[in-house]
């Protein structure tokens, strides 16, 4: 009834190429953003901010990064955890070496450093494809974690191998990093940063560079024959993707956990992010957010439900059951909707467009 594009005529190609060509979408997203920015920090309980919203935003960013590489450019990667670790440790070294630098610049540099590492480990993609490449990215995963674990230089020789993010402020004196910052400030900072980066990602995928990624993904031979340089397209996808993942790793260390060790970015982290984009939807910016929300909320729901039902289960059993349910849900999801939540969202919108009339 309310979701109609009838009557909205476009008179220029620019208007037709806008991010949200349908007016209702544009209004909806603005309301959502306004609500998240102006209302949530005041009404959400601390627990929500710390354990749901902040990790959700950070994971969304990581998923966005992996989605660029895997969903848009078609290069399967299992090295996400390693690249997140890069971002975390690079930013730690930078922030402690240059205490007066603005933290945003630190994150930017850490992201760029990670992009460089990503390009390095992306080089095999020029010769190998598919699962062979996936295994090659495992080399990045294991090597990077080993490196951060082995050489105490990365942790400023901390005896426990744990790095503690120093407090840093933005906009003058608002602390946004380390455990001492207020959750509200961290949340708003993350929301703005992640939204901005998501906008950039969206712009990229609807510009020239995004089209060259998708062309490589869909049919690499045809892409090369219409003039796309596979090397440039693949390596730029690795760079941009690693940049996003690196920044998310930095944010993980600086805002979410405050102190972190290399083992926090193990292979399981890579799988977690991969699940997000599969469940959310490959090749959909929206999907990265939906998938991140799903994976962040699922364990919380799994922990809460037995409590609510009053089942007396041991912690260990719950952990194992969680594995089973997690695995089963993923299989279920893949069977029911292999294109992810983003596709469901799309179908929902198409239905809504017609509702309440069937045609």
């Amino acid at each position: 009834m309310f979701y109609r594009e009838a009557g909205q005529f476009k008179t220029s190609y620019a208007a037709d190429q806008a991010i949200y060509p349908i007016r209702q979408d544009k209004i909806g997203i603005l309301i959502l953003f306004g609500f998240s920015l102006l209302a949530i920090p005041f009404i959400a309980p601390i627990y929500w901010l710390n354990s749901i919203l902040i990790p959700f935003l950070i994971f969304s960013l990581a998923a966005l990064g992996l989605n660029i590489l895997t969903g848009y450019c078609g290069q399967l990667s299992l090295g996400t955890g390693g690249f997140m670790a890069c971002g975390a440790f690079f930013s730690y070294k930078l922030a402690t070496a240059m205490p007066d630098t603005n933290i945003l610049i630190v994150f930017l540099l850490a992201g760029l450093g990670t992009a460089l590492v990503g390009v390095l480990f992306g080089l095999p993609s020029l010769r190998i494809k598919g699962f062979y490449l996936a295994v090659a990215t495992l080399a990045a995963q294991f090597f990077l974690i080993w490196m951060f674990n082995k050489f105490s230089w990365w942790t400023n020789h901390s005896p426990s191998g744990v790095i503690s993010a120093p407090p840093r402020a933005v906009f003058g004196d608002i602390d946004v990093t380390s455990a001492s910052a207020s959750p509200e400030a961290k949340y708003v900072f993350l929301l703005l940063l992640v939204s901005f980066l998501a906008l950039i990602a969206k712009n990229m995928v609807r510009s020239r560079i995004g089209r060259s990624w998708m062309a490589i993904r869909d049919m690499d031979i045809a892409a090369e024959i219409i003039g796309i340089r596979p090397m440039l397209a693949k390596l730029s996808a690795f760079a941009v993707s690693s940049f996003f993942i690196g920044v998310s790793g930095a944010l993980w260390a600086f805002t979410y956990s405050g102190s972190v060790e290399a083992l926090a970015f193990e292979i399981n982290r890579s799988f977690e992010v991969l699940f997000m984009i599969i469940i959310g939807g490959l090749g959909a910016i929206m999907g990265s957010f939906l998938g991140a929300a799903f994976i962040v909320l699922l364990p919380i729901a799994l922990d809460t439900i037995p409590l609510l039902l009053g089942l007396p289960l041991s912690v260990e059993t719950v952990a194992h059951l969680r594995l089973i349910i997690f695995g089963a849900l993923i299989i279920f999801f893949l069977i029911v909707e292999p294109h992810g939540l983003a596709r469901l969202w799309q179908i929902g919108k198409e239905k809504l467009r017609l509702w309440p009339f069937p045609y």
């Binding site: 190609y13 020239r208 089209r211 090369e224 024959i225 003039g227 796309i228």
Partner: protein
């Protein structure tokens, strides 16, 4: 060579003139041999393609036609022989370099970007023509390269922000693509994901993508395979129109002899990787070797 003219009956060729003049050779292949391990795919092939002509390559299955196209656009590298394109002998190159020199191509099995819409597919064909920013040419050694990198970086930033030059360029190129959309009569499907389109339309979108490259030489690999009579007529009309209106040189592989005889100016016949005949359609049609190859008379 300039006086070769086609002998196609006017009614089959639509609006084209029965007498046409062609330009200089656009592409000349000489003594090309290509093998994969022990398998000899092409042996000592020579022919040329003149500017503005429609050149057909025919032959039985496995004759090496597609391999020939692959050699022309740099996908395969022949072991022997030379290719001269626009008067320059070509060195070994990658397909994207061929694309930059104006060679476009469609495929035997449709090779569209399945995850993208029709319009995005065509826009992807414009990639080489899109420049948000251009570096000024100073002529100073070294400085030009630096400027080009700088422009590339700035270009990337404008793409990230979808702002200013990028938006203008996208709109400008969109307008060009819409012209092709109109030309090929695919307005209704411009936002449909190409995976959902029927086969005949997919072939048409693929042609649109190739045209978006503004090619000088258009290679078509079985543009009419699997089509019904009407679709074939449409496609023939499009090919002739492209040739006529844009002056694009066309080299096509086709199995439908009726179509080949009707629309092509000259035909080269391959069999078992060797050249069997070369000439005007009527000459080729009456060639003894060609008839043997097609009807399977013992060699």
């Amino acid at each position: 060579m300039n006086d070769i003219s086609s002998q196609i009956p006017a009614e089959a060729a639509g609006t084209r003139q029965p007498e046409r003049r062609f330009g200089e050779p656009l592409l000349t292949v000489e003594n090309i041999s290509l093998s994969f391990g022990g398998l000899q795919a092409l042996t000592d092939i020579s022919f040329d393609i003149l500017e503005q002509e429609i050149r057909a390559i025919i032959g039985p299955n496995g004759a090496g036609k597609t391999s020939m196209l692959n050699v022309i656009n740099g996908f395969y590298h022949p072991q022997k022989g030379t290719i001269t394109y626009k008067g320059n002998i070509r060195r070994t190159m990658r397909p994207h370099m061929a694309a930059a020199q104006g060679i476009a191509r469609t495929f035997q099995n449709v090779a569209l970007f399945k995850g993208m819409s029709t319009l995005d597919n065509i826009m992807t064909g414009r990639l080489l023509k899109m420049h948000n920013l251009r570096a000024p040419e100073t002529g100073v050694f070294g400085l030009d390269q630096v400027l080009r990198w700088g422009a590339g970086a700035l270009d990337f930033v404008t793409q990230c922000l979808y702002w200013g030059p990028n938006e203008k360029e996208e709109t400008r190129q969109r307008a060009y693509c819409e012209e092709i959309v109109d030309f090929l009569e695919i307005q209704a499907i411009r936002k449909t994901p190409v995976g959902r389109l029927p086969y005949g339309l997919q072939k048409r979108v693929e042609l649109a993508r190739a045209l978006a490259m503004e090619p000088e030489l258009l290679l078509l690999d079985e543009p009419m395979a699997g089509m019904n009579v009407e679709e074939k007529e449409d496609m023939s009309r499009f090919i002739l129109d492209v040739n006529e209106e844009f002056g694009t040189t066309v080299a096509l592989i086709e199995h439908d002899m009726g179509v080949v005889m009707d629309i092509s100016d000259r035909v080269v016949v391959l069999d078992y990787g060797r050249k069997l005949a070369d000439g005007r359609p009527d000459e080729v049609r009456s060639d003894r070797g060609v008839i043997d190859a097609y009807l399977g008379v013992a060699h």
